[in-house]
């Protein structure tokens, strides 16, 4: 029983060390995701944006 405690502590330390290594690539992945979502939104709004520009010539002087 007394021996089990230091062993589990060691196991937890090993797990934590593993976690720290995984954190590095998080940031670039998040940025790519944002760009993809944005492009999708732009695609769905494209027709609406076209109509908005064409139907409001006073807001879009040439």
């Amino acid at each position: 029983m007394k021996q089990a405690i230091p062993f589990s502590g060691f196991a937890a330390a090993a797990l934590l060390a593993g976690c720290v290594q995984i954190q590095a690539p998080d940031k670039p992945i998040e940025i790519n995701l944002n760009v993809n979502i944005k492009q999708e939104v732009v695609l769905t709004l494209k027709k609406d944006a076209e109509d908005l520009v064409n139907n409001n010539p006073e807001l879009f002087p040439q």
């Binding site: 492009q39 732009v42 709004l45 609406d48 944006a49 908005l52 807001l59 040439q62």
Partner: protein, 130 residues
Amino acid sequence: MTLSRRTLALAGVAALLVGAAGVAYAQSTGAVTAALGSGAVGEQADGYLGFRGTPSEALRDEVDAINIKRREAYTKLAAQRGVTVKDVAATVGCETLQKRVATGRSYLLPDGVWRTKGADPIALPAYCGS
């Protein structure tokens, strides 16, 4: 009789005011159109008009007024589609940069650099799609 004369006078004043407003509006859009032509004002990727350089106070007022009306229209569409005003504005920006900037006119990309439209199409931001 006095009343009807007064009514007539009021109607005359109203007609004058409407006429004056019409002239002011024509002048204002003329100023923006001229500034677009000279490149002092241009379309921005964010969906609004902007200044390439420092504008006169009058020109700034006119462009601000147009941008406020644009924002109003974007806000309405964003609410209808359940997206942000920025999403709508950026999509309109893609549209104006692609179709409404003539050769020799100014435009602003998200990198913050004003450029002059040449013979080639504008290199649109990646989020505009193809």
